[in-house]
Structures are given as C-alpha cells and as structure tokens.
Symmetry: D2
Subunit: 344 residues, 4 copies
C-alpha cells in the first residue's frame, strides 16, 4: 500500500480550500454561534441563506449556511482555482476522466464547476468571488475567536489512498500520513497552499464530512471563543480541546455548531513550500497521540455531517482508536480507591 | 447550617498561605517536574531535601520536597504571620483554646509554630524566612509555566463548617461557598490576603490534602507548561483542564506531580478587600459547573495526598459530583450511532 | 535624608487606592475613550456625571467624570478604609493633627471624609459603596483593554519625603524608592494592599496629578487597547510604551485621555505582604531606566492634571530626567550619515 | 508612473524568500543575539561561519553569518526555486536577458545560481538544502522570540518601479504599493508565497539592505524577545516598536543586531493567494502611518547594511518621511510648559 504520487504538472491550478456550504435547521442560532463564538462576519443574509467570511478574508464568503428542514448536512466543499481559464482546463480534465462536471451559477461567485471527487465528496471550483474589505485590523469590532480564514476540510472515507489520488493527480502534495499496523495508510493530509492541509482524509465509513478548520490568530483568541461559548449557551458545543496535535501542526479546539457540524479552530500552521518537504509518516501507536490534552471523545470519531448525495460505505478494517471513554476506563482500573468510605 | 462568622479582631495577624512541605519517592524526577514544567527555582538542595520558590518570591521557599520511602504525603501546610510577636500571640491563643502548639526550628525560616487545625491539617506559622532576589524579570531564564507564587491550599474534610471556623476565628474572610440541596454547605473559600483564597475546604472523607495553587502570569504560560509536560514525559500528569472556573475566579489547569500530589496553575484571581465583599453563595446544580471545559475526572474528586498524622473520616452524606466519566456516559446514551458498519 | 518609617499601629485602617474624580470638557468623548479603549463599564450616567468601574469591580465606581467648562483637573483622589468606624477614627486622628477634615455626602458612597494630605492632594476616604455584579467573566461584552480595577495614583510634589510621611503615619509601607546623587530621595512607592503601589510620589513641581493606573489581565489586552485606540481616533493618545518598568513591577503603557489626564494600563504587579519585604532602593543612573523600550517623552515628565484647590510650588533642585527627546538627540550625534546624498 | 505587471507565465518557478548571508565583526556576540533574543537554532558552526534556522524550518539555514574585519554588510539575498530544473530555466532566462549568472557551490545547499537583480542586489537561487528536523513543538527548548521562519527582505533603491520589474517578470505579484504626491510610486511589496511579502523595495539611496523579517508565533513572543534583549545587554538594539503597521499586515518590532543589521520580528501576515487579490494602493499622507505606535526614528529611515559589490546612487527626488524626531519636535512646540519653575 503506497502513498499516491503528486502530479507536478497538474491539468489545472487549484490554489486552496476556500469555502463550504452547510445546511442548518435554525439559521438564527447558527448565525449567533458563528458570529459571537467563531467571530465570522456576515457578508450577506436572507431569510434562507447566510454568507459569512473570516476577518481577513477579502472573498465574499467562506461559509454559506442554508436553511433546511431535513437533517443538517454538508452540501458542498469549495476550492479556488487561480484563473478563469483553469475552470475550462478542469472541465476538459474531468471530461477526459469520465467524471461528470457541470458549470453552475452560484451567487457572489464567478463561474463555478460542480462535480464529486472519487470518494463521493460534492465539490465546486471557482476562480473568482465578489470581494469585500478585509476586517482584520478593525480589532474593536472583533468577537469570539476572531477567526481569520478558512483553512482545510477533513472527510472520512473507507479508502483514503484511493480518495487522495484524485487530489494528488490535481497537484496536491502530501504533508503527513498516518499508518496503522503493517504500514496500512489510514490518514492523508494534502495541500496546495503553503501549509500542511487543504484536504484531509481519514479511514472510516464514508464519505462523511468530519470537520472544517478556521485559522485564529493567537491562543488567547481560542480562550476568548470558549469564554464566549460558555457565556452564550454554547458551552456544551466544545467537543475536544484545547490541546496540541501530536504531529505538531498546531494548537486546536473542536466545536460542534448548533446543527452538529464540527469545526476546528487552529492557530497558523507551519509553512510547507519546498521540494525538500517530503511527506512525513506517523505510525499510530496505542495511546494518546496528542502532545498534550486528553484523547478525543467517542463522538469525535463517530459523528459526522452527511454529505448530500453521497452513499456511505464502511472500510474493510475498522480502526480501534483510543477514545476519551476508553482512556478513562483504562485509567480508572489502575486508580487508587478512596481510603475511607464511612466515618468511624 | 450557617457560615462561620469572621472574627474582625483576630488574636494574631495571619497574612497569607505561603509554603508547603511534601514528601517524594524520587526527588530527581520531582525536581525535573517542578523546575521544567511548573517553572519554580531551586533555592537550596541536598540529597534529601529540595527547597523551591516561585519566580517573584523573595521568600526562600514556598515548596519543600523531602525524600521518603513511604507513600508520598503532605507533611505540613504553612502560613505567614505578619510579625514575630504574632507568633507569641498565636501560641497564647492556642494555649487558651487547648490546641497543642510548639515552637520548632525549620531551616531557612524564623521561629516556627507547629500545630494542627481542628480538621486535623498539620500547620505551621512563621513571620520570617531567608530572602533571595526576586526573579520575575529575568525572563530569559524562565521555564514552563513560569509560576510566580504560592497562592492557596485545598483540603478535604467531612465537616467544612467546623473546619472553616478555626480559620474565621483567626480573621479569615469567606469569599465563596457552595451549597448542596437544602442549603447544606459543602465548600468554603477563605482568604486573608487580597484575593479569594488562602484556604479552601470541600466536603469529602478527610482531612486529606487535595491541591495547592501557584499563580502564573498569563494563559500562554499555562500552554507553555503543557507543551513542556508533553515534551518531557509528563503529558499524562495533566489531570484536568485547561478550563475556566464557573464562579469566575480564574483560568486553571490541574496537574499531578510525579508523586501524585495535585497542583493547580491559575491566573491571577480577582481582588477582594472591601467590607462590601460579602461572601458569594453558589448553589451546586446538576451538570458541569465550569464556565467551559469538561467536568473533572473521577480521580480529581477521589484521589488526594495523605496528611501526615491525620486520621481520615468520611462525611455523613456523600456527595455525588458530576465526574467526566459520568458526563461522557450520559452523553453517550444520547449519541448517534455510526450510520454504516460494514461495506455493502 | 531618610525614608519615613511605617507606623505599624496606624490610627485607622486604610485598605487601598480605590477611586478618582476627574473633570472633563467633553463627557461623550471621554466616555467613548474609557469604555472602548480602556474597557470600563458605565455604572451610572447623567448629563453632567459618568460613573465607571473596572470589569472585576464590585464597587459602583472607580472613576467619576464630571463635566466642566474650565481646564480639566483632578478633583479628588479616593481611598477605602475597612469599616465605617475607621472613618470616625480617621476624623479623630486628623483633628488631633490639626488637618481640616469634614464628612460629606457623595452619591453611591457611604459616609465620606474629605481632607487634603500634607502635600495638598485633595483626598477622600469611605468604607462603603453601592455594589454591582462583577463582570470579569462576561468576556463576550469586554472591550479594549478590559481594565479590571483601579490600582494606584501618582502625584508630583516638590518634597516627596514630607509628602510620603503623611501616608506612612497611616500605615502605608514603602515598596520602592528612587535616589538621585548623594542619596537624595526623589521617588517613593507606597502601598496598603498586597502589591507595591497605592500611592506614589515623584519629585517635581507640585502637587500635581501625574497618573492613575488600571490593572489589565494580559499583555494582549494592552495590544487590543492600542488597536482600538488606533481605530477609534485615539492613536495620538498613546504617550509612552508599551514597555517594561526597569524595577520590574510590570509591563505598562501610558495613555492620555481626551482631556489630557494620564492613565497607565499595567499588568498585575508582584505581591508584597511579608515583613521581610524591605523597601528596595533604586539609584537613578544616567540612561534609560526601563528594562526595554524607549525613555518617556518630555510630555510625560512635564505635563500633569492640576489638583483642584492645590497651590503648586517647585522643588529646590530640579531633576534632569532622560527624555525621549534627549535620548534621540544624543543618539543622532553618533549616527552614521547616509552614504550617498546625490545620484552620481 | 505605473505598477509593473506580473508575468503569470514566468520563465521559472521562484517559490519564496528563503535565506540570507550577512557578515559580522563579532560572531560570538551575533550568535548570542540570534539564539537568545531572536530564538534561532544553530545548525552548523565553525570559527568563521554560523548557520542558523528558525524553529519550524526544516531547511538547514535561513541566516548565514560570516566573520569579517571590514564593515558589516549583506553578502547575498537567497530565494528558493521549486525544482532543480528551475535553476536551468533560470540560467537560460538570465542568459537571454544578458544578466551575468553563474552556478556556484554553497555548503549545505544544492546547486546554487548567483547573479544580481537590476537594482544591484546580489541574489542566489537554489532548489534544495540539507534538511534537519523541525523544532517548533520542542517548546521547552525555545528562547527569545522563538522565531519560526524567514519571511521577507526589504531593499532601498532609487527607482523602485525599475527594481520591481525584475521580480514581476519572474512571476512576483504586487500586494501593496505606496504612492507619494502625484501618484509617484515610492514603495512596492511583492510576493510569490501565500502572504504579502517576499521582496520589498522602498525609494531611497541604494541599493542598500534595509531589513529582513522573521515570523514569530504570537505577540507574547515579541514581548519575551524584548525582555531577553533588555536582560542580556541588547536593550539598546530595539530600534522601533512594538507597533502595528498601518496597512494592517501585522504587528512588528525592529531590532538592530550587534553589527547594525536590522531585522523585523512580525506576526504571521494575512494570506494572499486569489486572483481577486488586486494590488492595494496606499497614499502616503503627512503624519504617522502606523495604526498605533510612534513613527520610526531617523535611524530607521537612514541607516542600512551595505550590499557587497553594489554601487549606491540617490533618487532624483528625496522623500521627507516623518521621523520620530520630527514628530516629537512638532509636538513639543504645542506642549504646555511646566506651570511653575521655582518654589515660591
């Protein structure tokens, strides 16, 4: 089982993970969460749709919330290509590959190409969006985490090597990958922009949308977000962290939005640009893989947002990740009992 | 059941929680933990004893570690009185009360008075210690949390009102207290210095030593401590947090030292000085009492350091605190199962 | 010339520097500055008076702004005494000393005693104030520096030893003092609460009110305050800093409010409680006395708020402090000229 | 006068500003400054050369210091190209342009191409370097600013448009540019990587090397660097800041190393990737252009490191930037005099 190779002469120029469309059962509550806890700015708002962007984003939106009465889901995952002509090249490429792709109109976006990756993730590519002024220096208006910009997506899929090869063919490079016993690859981090992750696949039943990540400036912004969450009735929405990833990309916290969608707030990750930056292999060992902090709870491993239109299948081999529940159970067995139970 | 009243004309002037004596099975490992993770400075060191102080402490030591081959324990909890003559007044006071108290010689300390409080906690009072230069501006030498100074002690005892009355008689004021059903007082925070806590009692089997707290300057120092813990093999010593206390005193993290003694790293708490600062009552409700962050694990509620020479008894009514284990178990029952378990 | 000795059995119990009354020519602008940049909360507001408090203050106000058409001035400097009966003791003490003191009614305060110290600073003492809920955990509502609480006052006076002796007689302890050539004392820091400063005197023409200090939680709050100042039209109000005091108490920045009153935002200072904490002497040497950061500009040394009713006199010996202007001038003389001034 | 246009089909793929060669009269002192204040790691060290890298850099060096007995100078400015074959393409490109370029051997680097840009800046390009483990998670070993990675270079030159066109021809995009009266372009910020600056030109006598920038993670790392500078005898090396740039890229501080070379420590800048990110124009107006903080001192505008082998010429029109000296002088004229100069 080997890592897919990056095509260094890709058919078109994808530049970055850029935007996301989620559905919500309660737009008002979701708006409250994303503006007051995450700190996004509302760019546009109607009775059925809210467009939000991070504080430094000149692009009109990185998160679109659409009202639904169904189960909340992830409707589409968006990437930028560099130029309009990359869209034509993309269409030609997918036609050659036999992957159905069609141009659609999306509000506030330039020409947009819809398709699904080979894992089944619904994607869209565009080169242009309406622009708005960056807000990152207007500190007096910042709230919550003061999230700066969309950073990456994580999708669960039963076969990560197959799923990743769609992206490496488009020029995505692998920054990190996780191996289980016998070198079986169970996680792949890929990037086009200058940090380790635009798209991440982990092995589990899928395709399902696991989380998206927004960059926040400093650790105290994470703390302010958690204070705001606690004060505004979103305290239970903190699922995991704050902690620090074991492979060292960054500090993180995982939240669940009011519809159950998971997002990560993370500090700016390391820069990866050079040809010398060979993929790093991490062999998953028993125990907590974080530099510090408790392992993620079971919900982090098992719960996801459905991807609209995607058919979910399970992997051949189920992982047995160390959940917080297992960790505590194992620890409890070794614990000292209370010395005295009754007053003498 | 009523809160003990502060004696505003106390028999002598206790000024603050100041120092602590713990025993350790492995002084080298404990030294490593306290200097590299907590960031204390070694003031003196022999084959059997290490004296440590916080970065801003002019006092020779706030933590004394003594080598033991027995179960690690808390040997003594130390308070400062203002002047030498307060020690004489203290001796006279305890003689009047029929509490055995004797003067002893303790290295690097002025005349020192030994006794036990009515809960059974072994105490000592002194007015003077050898002084050393404060180190808080020598930032280039700071490590880990860069802990500044000893702040408070927490002791478990079956009868907190009785335990607290020993201290209120000495002029300690109550900042906060916790009530369970029917107004039963189960926790009392008391102070002499200008913040909410020098001595804290919680209701459980006791007297047992629950934790001591060191003040750290900023949240990023807490994060550095946790990074250091993770890097230096103390990652499993992080027991609970980082989080924020529900009654708002401060941000915290709880660690266990290599001998299992528990310490809290906390940011500077609020100032309490005025007569207007009436005790605040908190009614303990089901659920997580933190502003944010998971509840403490079972170990936080159950495990303690023994107090040397103290006889432990259990309370009449056992509390049923919400542990992390219970919290996750309750949450798990409501969790969504994974949608697909096998590949079609 | 010797330091005044602290009276350890003071006639009454002053507890802390607590509040301040300033006059303002433009209450709306001052309100904007104190709420958006400093982060104070408005407790009460009329057409002619605004009462403000820090985020953790339970006391109704620590800053009172009164509308004036005259030159903005400092009307009164306020201290807390512990109990109502301390006010009676204070009155008796000042009567004995021949210092005129009278009881007055001040809104939202308990019985209040007015007098002037021997330097001419108009003072007031009270034991009680209306209380309001502390706001320090309501992070989602915090703005600017998120200032927590009033900390200290600094007054200029021609004879600091004489001025300080009024306070040492009331039990104030000296934490630090500055000496010029021949041991002439030119600055005295005194405290009652558990940090180095409630009242500070520096030698210059006076009595004039130099600044008051509010505690802010972390350095990033200082940065947020400066961002807010820059965004809201108060960028020119930053007079000096951020920097770190040479004697190590803390990080600081000095601002001028819209009426020209100077305030310091500083991080929590070190704790000083023990009898062992002897006064620290600093001999002022030529050059910058900060740990880092440029020296203060000339305005910092020369400009002040007048104290209402006080008659200003100059000291016998004028100091020659190193101003930023002098520092740059001296540096400029040693600077390398530009290598080429005209294109060949 | 118009902005040079980016060649979107550049002759070869430059990826980023990556490394720098400076000369030093005192390697031991320079080493002390860069490791203890800036926080770089030594990768290799001999009697005559020190190679240093930032904490997250996998590349062997981003800063090379060479011992000299001459005036300290900047020997060479280094960029990465993506692949080895980009070097061949580069050589062919410069041959076509009539720009002398030759391949040289540089320790720890792959094949390296030397040339000068049209402004006269000595450059080198390479695709590969020896790699070493990233150190960014080894927090317990971090010092000073904990600088993460080399970010950008700033060069002064009499004709910025001409100088910049060399780079735009190589595919550099303009993020920001400054205009003086009549739209005269006096500053151009250009980038290849995903932030606003790899190479910056400002109009003054040149070519001279103004500064290089290292990214630091959070503001408190800047503060720690300044504390370390103050403690270790480098307090006078702080030239300007901390402050925040007016165009909002980031927080900064400028230091002078022991040889007088200037470096900027800055927080991670905004991300710039999209075709929508049109160059931003800033019209320089009288007054302080920072969001907050004093203007830079005269030395910042006038002093530079010579570029070895470059012939310096002056611009046709001299700028009249607002220096700190001018700012204070103008302010002083408006200042209130001290009210009383002599004791009555």
């Amino acid at each position: 089982m080997s890592l897919p190779q990056t095509n260094v002469r890709p058919p078109f120029n994808v530049t970055r993970a850029s935007h996301l469309v989620l559905t919500s059962r309660d737009l008002a509550k979701a708006r409250d969460f994303y503006t007051e806890v995450v700190g996004l700015k509302v760019s546009d708002e109607t009775a059925t749709t809210i467009h939000l962007r991070g504080l430094e984003e000149r692009a009109h939106h990185s998160l679109t919330l659409k009202r639904t009465k169904e189960e909340p889901a992830c409707e589409r995952v968006g990437f930028r290509v560099f130029e309009e002509e990359d869209l034509e090249k993309a269409k030609a490429h997918f036609d050659r590959c036999g992957i159905p792709a069609k141009f659609v109109n999306v509000p506030f976006q330039g020409r947009t190409l819809h398709l699904a990756d080979t894992a089944g993730t619904p994607l869209e590519f565009c080169a242009r969006m309406k622009t708005l002024p960056r807000m990152q220096t207007r500190t007096h208006e910042h709230k919550g985490a003061g999230a700066l910009r969309m950073d990456h997506f994580q999708v669960l899929t039963p076969d990560v090597v197959s799923a990743a090869s769609f992206y490496t063919e488009l020029g995505f490079r692998v920054s990190d990958y996780y191996c289980a016993a016998a070198g079986r690859i169970i996680g792949i981090f890929m990037h086009r922009k200058d940090n380790p992750h635009d798209m991440v696949f982990l092995t589990r039943a899928g395709p399902r949308f696991h989380h998206f990540g927004y960059i926040v400036p400093e650790m105290h912004h994470v703390v302010r977000a958690l204070d705001c969450a606690g004060n505004l009735g979103f305290g239970e929405n903190i699922e995991h962290g704050p902690g620090r990833h074991g492979h060292g990309h960054s500090y993180y916290v995982y939240l669940r939005d009011p519809d159950g969608h998971r997002l990560e707030l993370l500090l700016p990750a390391i820069q990866i640009i050079d040809i010398d930056d060979e993929p790093m292999r991490y062999d998953v060992k028993p125990g907590n893989t974080n530099l510090w902090g408790l392992p993620p709870p079971r919900s982090w491993f098992e719960e996801c947002s459905p991807l609209i239109g995607a058919k979910v299948t399970a992997p051949d081999v189920q992982g047995e990740p160390l959940t917080l529940e297992k960790y505590l159970f194992a620890k409890g067995d070794a614990a000292k009992p209370e010395p005295v139970k009754k007053r003498a």
